[in-house]
């Protein structure tokens, strides 16, 4: 193997090693430790000064106590299941909202497309936190939405949206929409218009042609979009804690509480390790799908 190739491969792998594997190793180590009143708040510590004996002592002190605890208290697995459920449902909702947007963009006239694309990306220009806070102002008891609906006479009593799962779904769909729209748009834009005309010519109505041609051919974009929404939403913490109130159970929030409220780093680390294991399945599936699509396009 020549050096150029070696170098090219070395760059992403060292990136992965430095920013993913090393932190993960540290988290894994903490998850095997015991909590303690110290800084940092766990034992055993990694002490190079004691040499080989120190490392041996450290390994001897490791145990799976925290993982066992996760299975005993049903708060945790409920939070995992609830997170996956919320992620799945918001994925479907984002798809339902995002597909028509992407379809509209792809069918808009050539000159409008860059503008529409801009509008989809525009929210990224302001801070994510500010945008989520803005939703508090919109969805609250005296928020703009309730004011508007009351002014229009549609409702008498203000709706309770904030601090319910509905607010979480609204927040997630809003935040993750571009991740759904862009890959779908990319596949729809490439779609050859002749194919739809051919389908019509062969006896399909417009709607039938959409289901038989457009939908299957946009599948790679839909799959990519779904993964790009599902994977981060499972671990989402900001949106449920700001919009969801105490009733929305998500593993990201538990993680935060364990780390910063309880200062139980080992347990929090165990939660994170399990979360990662849960996510590895969809991530691997996603990579496989991407690879397969690249091969198909070649």
């Amino acid at each position: 193997m020549n050096f150029r190739r070696l170098f090219l491969i070395a760059v992403p792998y060292s990136w992965l090693l430095l920013l993913f594997l090393v932190p993960f190793g540290i988290v894994l180590k903490i998850s095997l430790s015991d909590p303690a009143l110290a800084i940092p708040p766990y034992v055993p510590k990694f002490e190079l000064a004691q040499g080989w004996a120190g490392i041996k002592a450290m390994f001897a002190a490791f145990d799976l106590e925290n993982f066992v605890y996760l299975t005993e208290d049903n708060l945790y697995w409920k939070a995992y299941i609830s997170s996956v459920q919320i992620a799945l449902l918001s994925m479907v909702l984002t798809l339902l909202v995002g597909y028509p947007i992407a379809y509209g963009m792809a069918n808009a006239s050539e000159e409008w497309r860059p503008t529409l694309m801009m509008l989809v990306i525009l929210p990224f220009w302001s801070s994510f936190l500010i945008r989520v806070y803005a939703w508090i102002g919109i969805l609250g008891q005296n928020g703009y939405l309730n004011q508007l609906l009351q002014a229009l006479g549609i409702i008498d009593e203000p709706l309770v949206i904030l601090n319910t799962p509905i607010a979480v779904y609204i927040g997630i769909v809003y935040t993750y929409l571009p991740f759904m729209v862009l890959p779908i748009y990319a596949t729809l834009e490439k779609l050859d218009g002749d194919l739809l005309e051919a389908a019509e010519d062969l006896g399909c109505s417009r709607i039938k042609a959409f289901w038989l041609i457009t939908v299957p051919l946009s599948r790679p974009g839909v799959i990519a979009g779904c993964f790009l929404v599902f994977i981060p939403v499972v671990g989402e913490f900001v949106i449920p804690s700001l919009l969801g109130g105490s009733r929305t159970l998500m593993i990201g929030k538990i993680l935060w509480d364990e780390f910063f409220s309880n200062r139980d780093w080992p347990l929090a680390s165990a939660v994170a390790v399990i979360l990662l294991l849960i996510l590895i399945i969809p991530i691997v599936l996603f990579q496989r799908q991407q690879q397969r699509q690249q091969e198909a396009e070649r």
Partner: protein, 380 residues
């Protein structure tokens, strides 16, 4: 070109005043905004015809075809199919199928599924669909490839799948938009004959769009030469070639010598054309009586021009010149002969002998000659 006449000796419904055309365009105009793509076009196409639309790129061939398929609506005018007005009938309700220039094969379906696609939209029972797909695969010699996806077969095979898919529903009319443009020359020529065989076997009316005049001449029963959204001439390939209606057609179809001049004498069947100072008058046979002094153009195909080293004694027309250029095409050679006034006449000679024994070479003084009936007198 003559085998066409041998092949279909009696098939000429366009000559029969009682024949009812399958398709009729009546005063059809199509505008895109201000741009006129088709202008006041009237045309009849008969059942079982292999009809070619021929013209340069952008002359409106595809537009005409898309109006037949139902993807475009004429701005004004009438289009009937089988006597029924079809304007406003959507593409999926017309007994017309189209083979797209891009083939438009569905990439997510196999070859067999592509062919079955149209059948599944009809009310044909399932078991019959499978049989019909097999039949179509056999017709285009792709029986072994039914399970492949379009990206797993060659360009020529894809072209045949597109043809089979368009034919599967047994349409009254098959539209082919530049069906062979993407194939290389040899494959294209083979496929032209395959297309003719299939058309003859099925008896379906074919309308083919092409910008390749040889292709149009080879496959078609009649050729419509188009220019700027108008029909210039609609005739059999032989008539188009031998009796072009005007300079545009003569020049567009095949190679031609165009000699501009004026009628200097006209009597009965023949006329004399004066065309250059110091050159002999040319004898020709116009199709109609022309007035003396009228300007005209004599169009002669290069293969009807003979070349000799001595002045021919019995030729109706003979002029002297020098060999300027020789184009060797294998089976034939084209001699470019420059006359004393600078005009270049092309003469084509079949290469009966090997090249080394060629009779003439560059700069040789020669005579070019042709009969009085060899050329066509064009007045437009």
């Amino acid at each position: 070109m003559t085998f066409e006449a041998v092949k279909r000796p009696v098939f000429a419904p366009w000559k029969d005043p009682d024949a009812i055309p399958l398709i009729r365009f009546e005063g059809v105009t199509k505008k895109f905004g201000e741009f006129v793509a088709i202008e006041n076009l009237s045309l009849s196409i008969y059942e079982r015809e292999f009809f070619a639309l021929l013209g340069p790129s952008g002359c409106g061939k595809t537009t005409l075809m898309r109006m037949l398929a139902g993807f475009e609506t004429p701005t004004t005018g009438i289009i009937t199919l089988d006597g029924r007005d079809i304007i406003g009938v959507p593409p999926n309700k017309r007994p017309v199928n189209m083979m797209f220039q891009s083939y438009a094969l569905f990439p997510h379906l196999t070859v067999a599924e592509n062919i079955a696609f149209g059948l599944k939209r009809s009310d044909m029972p399932k078991d019959q669909i499978a049989a019909r797909v097999d039949e179509m695969l056999a017709l285009v010699q792709l029986s072994k490839f039914g399970g492949r996806k379009p990206h797993q077969i060659s360009g020529g095979q894809r072209q045949r799948v597109a043809l089979a898919r368009a034919l599967a529903k047994a349409p009254k009319l098959l539209l082919l938009d530049e069906p062979l443009a993407a194939l290389d020359r040899k494959l294209r020529e083979e496929t032209q004959f395959e297309l003719m065989d299939i058309q003859e076997k099925l008896g379906t009316t074919f309308v083919i769009v092409t910008h390749d005049q040889e292709e149009a001449m080879t496959v078609a029963s009649r050729v419509a030469v188009m220019n700027h959204g108008e029909l210039v001439q609609v005739e059999t390939p032989e008539r188009i070639y031998e009796h072009p209606a005007n300079r545009y057609v003569a020049d567009f179809i095949g190679d031609v010598n165009l000699i501009e001049g004026t009628i200097s004498a006209s009597e009965g069947e023949t006329c004399q054309i004066s065309w250059a100072e110091g050159q002999p008058l040319l004898n020709a046979t116009p199709s109609e009586l022309l007035a003396v002094g009228a300007s005209c153009c004599l169009a002669i195909r290069p293969e009807k021009v003979s070349i000799s080293s001595e002045e021919p004694t019995d030729a109706a027309n003979a002029v002297a010149g020098r060999v300027l250029d020789i184009g060797y095409l294998g089976n034939i050679s084209t001699y470019h002969v420059q006359l004393s006034n600078g005009k270049v006449i092309k003469a084509q000679v079949a290469n009966h002998r090997r090249l080394a024994r060629r009779a003439f070479t560059w700069e040789d003084p020669v005579w070019v000659s042709f009969t009085a009936t060899a050329g066509v007198v064009l007045t437009e």
